[in-house]
Amino acid sequence: MNEVRRIPRQELPVILSGSRSPIWWGMVILVIIESTVFATLISSYFYIRVNSPAWPPGGLPNPDLLLPIINTIVLFCSSMAVLWGMAGLKKNDLRRLKIGIGAGIALEIIFFIIKIMMGTGGPFDWSTNAYGSIFFTINWLHTGHVLVAILMASVAEMLAFRGYFDRERKLGVQVVNIYWQFVAVVWIPVFIVLFLTPRWY
C-alpha cells in the first residue's frame, strides 16, 4: 500500500471555467436539449408539409423575405459582437467586453423589433391551418429564445459593469456566450426552413 498523497487546497482552484466547470457542461446539455426541441419542430414542419397537397397550403403566398434577411444579418452581427467582446476578456480588457455584450444586446433588440414588425409573417395566423400553426410556433419560439438571450446577457452586462469578470473569472460570460451563439446558429435552419424552402420546391 502506498502512502496517501494529499492534494492541498492551493492546488485545487475554485474558479473553474470552460469544460472544467460543471456549470459549463450544464449549459452545453441545455443547448443539446433546446436543439432537440427545434429538431422536433422542424421534423413536424416537414411531416405536415409532405402530407399537404400544396405548400403553403390554402393559396397562401410564400413568406416575405426582406425582413428575415435583414434579421439574419442583424443576428450574425450580434453574434460577432459578443465573440469580439469575449476575446477582449482574454486580454483582461473589461471595457471591450462591456462594449461587445452591449452591442450584441442592442442588435438583438433590433432583431426583436423587426420580428414584431413582421407580425404573424403573412395573411394568416396560428389558427388558420396547420401550416400557420407550425410556422408561428417555430418562428415565435425562436423569438422567445432571443428574448431570453437578451435578458441573460443583460445580467452579464450588469456584472461586467460592476467589474465582476476577469481573465480567470469568466464562467458567467462563457455560459451566456454558449447560449447566445446557439440562438444565433439555430436561426439559420429556422430561416432556411420557414422562409426559403417553400420557394425552392
Partner: protein, 644 residues
C-alpha cells in the same frame, strides 16, 4: 482507501471539523428551512417518497379498473370514471411514478456512489423536485375535483382536441405533462454533470458502478427523448387553448404527427425507466452473490446499445396505422434486435449468480422475480415486433399483459429489490426479512395471476380501454381471475408499507455496510452524514470496498469544511482538478417553480397570466444567477476567506 467516515475515537480537531461540517451542510430548522433544503439526499428522498405516493394512488386506480372489469356488464364504474381511471393510472405510473422515482434513485444514490458530497447544481435539483411536485399535485387536485383527463395516457388526437374532449381535464393533462418534463430534463442535466465532473479521485469511467452507468445513459436518453414529448404535449395544449390546428385533419393537421412524435419519446421512455432498474439489478445481484459482476464491460455496452437502439423502435406502436410495410420492416428488425443487449445482461447476471456465493435476501428474491418476469415480457415483446401478429393483438389485453410484464419485471420488481437493498442506507434501519419474503411472494404470485390470463383475453378479442364488455364473449372468468390477482398484489404492497413503517419506528439499526457490498455508498454511515463523506474516498478498482490496487497512489483532496465544497475531477480519469463551491439552502427554487407553474396554469385559466408568470420566472432566475459570494476565489490560504 480513505479514512473511516465515522471514526470511533475522534480527537478534538476531528470533532471540531465534524461539527463544522454539520453546520455547513445543515439547513435552517422549521418548515421554511425544510422547504429551503437543497442537499441531494433530501431532494432524492422527496422524489422517492412522492413517487411512492403516486404509485399507491395509481395502484388504487388499477384496483378500481380491475373491480369494474371483474364481471361482464358491471355497473360499478360508469364509462367516464373508468376512462378517467385508466388515463390517470397510465399517466401517473409513467410520468409521476416511474420516471421521477428513477430520477430520485439517481439523485439519492449517484453522489454517494461516486464519492461526492452533493450534486453539481443543488438549487436546480430542488427546482426539479418542486416542478414535479406542483405538476403531480395539480393533476390530482384537478382529478379529485372531477376535472379528469379521459384521453388515455397517450392521448391520441383528434379525440383529445377540444371538439371531442371539451373538458378542462385534458387541458390540465396537456399543460402539466409539458410542465413536468422540465423536472425530468433538469434532473438529466444534474445527473450528467455530476457523473462527468464529480467522481471521487481515481474513479475513472471504467470504474463507475453499474448503477451510475445506467443512470448516465438514462440521463442522456432523457435529453433526447423528453424534448419531443414537450413539443407534442405543447402542441396539444396550444391546439386546445390557442386553437392552433396541428392535429386538426380538416385544416391540414395530422393525427399521425402526434403518434410519431409521442412514440419517438414513448419508446425510449420505456428504456429510460428500465435502464436504472437494470443498474439496480446488477448492484443487488453482485452484492448478493458476493462477487464482482460478471461482464462489467458487456453490461455497460448493453446499456449504451439499448440507449441508441431504443430511438429506432417507435413505429412498432403504429403498425396498425396503415404505414408502408417496407418502412415498418425496419422497425420490426430493430425491435427484435434490442432484445440482444437485454439478453446479454440476463446471461451476465446468471453467470454472476452461478459463480457466486448467494445469500438469499428479499432483495435478491425480487431481483430473481424481476429477471423471470422481464424475460416473459421480453419474449412477448419480440412477438409484438412482428407486423402481422401485432395487427391481431395490438390494442388488446395481450399488449396490456405484455407491457405489465415488462414494466413489473423491468421497473417495479427491480425497484423493490432496490428498496430492500438501500432502505438501511437511506433510513439507518433494517427492513424485516420474513415480512419481506411474504411481500415478495404475494407480489410475484399476484402479478402473474393478474397478468398471465390477460394474454389469452387479448386473443379472445378483448380490446384495451373498454369500460365494460357483454356477456357471452367468453371474457368473464379470466377477468375475474385477473381481478383477484390484482388484489393479491395490493396486499403485497400493503405488506411492504407495513414493513417500512414498522422498520422506521422500531427497526434494527443498520451498520454502514450491512450487506458487505462493494460500492462507495456503503463506505459511510447509515444514514450518511449531511456531507456524505468527511474525507472523499479514493478509488482504485471497480469494487472499491472489496479491492484496491496496491500499485496506485491513493489521493486525498483537501476540502474546506466551513462552506459546501466537493471535488471536481477530470471527465475520463477522475484526476482532481479543483473544488466546486456549492450554494446552501434557499427558497429561490421553490419560488421559481411556482412562477413557471403560473405560466402553465395561465395557459388553462387565462392567457394573460402567461406573460406575468414569465416575468416572475425571469425575476427568480436573475436572483438565482446573481453571484452570491464575491470572494469565491479564495484558494484556502489562511485569513483570506470571506464567508457568506
Amino acid at each position: 482507501m480513505s479514512g473511516p467516515a465515522d471514526p470511533t475515537m475522534p480527537d478534538a480537531a476531528e470533532r471540531a471539523e465534524l461539527a463544522e461540517l454539520d453546520r455547513t451542510w445543515g439547513s435552517p430548522p422549521g418548515f421554511v428551512g425544510w422547504l429551503s433544503q437543497v442537499n441531494h439526499r433530501a431532494i432524492g428522498k422527496r422524489y422517492l417518497a412522492t413517487g411512492l405516493v403516486f404509485f399507491l394512488l395509481a395502484g388504487i386506480d388499477a384496483l378500481r379498473i380491475r373491480l369494474q372489469l371483474a364481471m361482464p356488464e358491471n355497473a360499478l364504474l360508469g364509462p367516464e370514471p373508468y376512462n378517467a381511471a385508466f388515463t390517470m393510472h397510465g399517466t401517473t405510473m409513467m410520468f409521476l411514478f416511474a420516471v421521477p422515482i428513477m430520477e430520485g434513485v439517481g439523485i439519492y444514490l449517484v453522489p454517494l456512489m461516486i464519492g461526492a458530497r452533493d450534486m453539481a447544481l443543488p438549487r436546480l435539483n430542488a427546482l426539479g423536485y418542486w416542478v414535479y411536485f406542483i405538476a403531480g399535485t395539480s393533476l390530482y387536485i384537478a382529478y379529485f375535483f372531477g376535472l379528469a383527463p379521459t384521453g388515455g395516457w397517450f392521448s391520441y388526437p383528434p379525440l383529445t382536441r377540444a371538439e371531442y374532449s371539451p373538458d378542462k381535464g385534458l387541458d390540465f393533462w396537456a399543460t402539466m405533462i409539458t410542465f413536468i418534463e422540465i423536472a425530468a430534463l433538469v434532473a438529466a442535466i444534474e445527473l450528467i454533470v455530476t457523473i462527468f465532473k464529480q467522481r471521487a479521485p481515481g474513479m475513472s469511467l471504467n470504474r463507475m458502478p453499474l448503477l451510475v452507468w445506467s443512470v448516465l445513459v438514462m440521463a442522456f436518453m432523457i435529453v433526447f427523448a423528453m424534448p419531443p414529448l414537450m413539443v407534442a404535449s405543447g402542441m396539444l395544449a396550444l391546439d386546445r387553448t390557442f386553437s392552433t390546428q396541428f392535429f386538426n385533419p380538416l385544416l391540414g393537421g395530422e393525427a399521425l404527427l402526434w403518434q410519431h412524435v409521442f412514440w419517438f419519446f414513448g419508446h425510449p421512455d420505456v428504456y429510460i425507466i428500465m435502464l436504472p432498474a437494470f443498474g439496480i439489478l446488477s448492484m443487488v445481484i453482485a452484492s448478493s452473490a458476493r462477487r464482482p459482476i460478471f461482464g462489467y464491460t458487456a453490461i455497460v455496452l448493453s446499456f449504451v446499445a439499448i440507449g441508441f437502439l431504443s430511438f429506432g423502435l417507435w413505429v412498432h406502436h403504429m403498425f396498425a396505422t396503415g404505414l408502408p410495410l417496407l418502412g415498418m420492416s425496419f422497425f420490426t428488425a430493430a425491435s427484435m434486435m434490442i432484445t440482444i443487449p437485454s439478453g446479454i445482461q440476463v446471461f451476465c447476471w446468471i453467470a454472476t449468480i452461478w459463480n457466486g456465493r448467494v445469500r438469499i435476501t428479499t432483495s435478491f428474491l425480487f431481483a430473481v422475480g424481476a429477471i423471470i418476469t422481464f424475460v416473459l415480457g421480453g419474449v412477448t415483446g419480440v412477438m409484438l415486433a412482428s407486423v402481422p401478429f401485432d395487427l391481431q393483438v395490438h390494442d388488446t389485453f395481450f399488449v396490456v399483459a405484455h407491457f405489465h410484464y415488462v414494466l413489473f419485471g423491468g421497473v417495479v420488481f427491480p425497484l423493490f429489490a432496490g428498496f430492500y437493498h438501500w432502505f438501511p442506507k437511506v433510513t439507518g434501519r433494517m427492513l424485516d426479512e420474513t415480512v419481506g419474503r411474504w411481500n415478495f411472494a404475494l407480489m410475484f404470485i399476484g402479478f402473474h395471476v393478474t397478468f398471465f390470463p390477460q394474454h389469452q383475453l387479448g386473443f379472445l378479442g378483448m380490446p384495451r380501454r373498454v369500460f365494460t364488455y357483454l356477456d357471452g364473449l367468453g371474457w368473464g372468468e379470466l377477468n375475474l381471475i385477473s381481478t383477484i390477482g390484482a388484489f393479491v398484489i395490493g396486499v403485497g404492497v400493503l405488506l411492504f408499507l407495513a414493513n417500512a413503517i414498522s422498520a422506521l419506528l422500531a427497526g434494527r439499526r443498520a451498520e454502514g455496510d450491512p450487506w458487505g457490498a462493494d460500492s462507495l455508498e456503503w463506505a459511510t454511515s447509515s444514514p450518511p452524514p449531511l456531507y456524505n463523506f468527511q474525507r472523499i474516498p479514493n478509488v482504485s478498482s471497480q469494487n472499491p470496498l472489496w479491492r484496491s490496487d496496491p500499485d496506485e497512489t491513493p489521493v486525498e483532496v483537501e476540502l474546506r469544511s466551513d462552506r459546501r465544497e466537493t471535488p471536481v475531477t477530470a471527465l475520463l480519469d477522475a484526476r482532481p482538478q479543483g473544488r466546486l463551491v456549492l450554494p446552501g439552502p434557499t427558497l429561490v427554487p421553490l419560488f421559481t417553480a411556482f412562477s413557471i407553474a403560473f405560466v402553465f396554469l395561465g395557459l388553462i385559466a387565462n392567457p394573460w397570466l402567461v406573460p406575468v408568470g414569465a416575468l416572475l420566472t425571469f425575476g427568480c432566475i436573475a436572483a438565482w444567477a446573481w453571484p452570491r459570494d464575491w470572494n469565491v476565489d479564495d484558494t484556502g490560504r489562511p485569513g483570506e476567506g470571506a464567508r457568506s
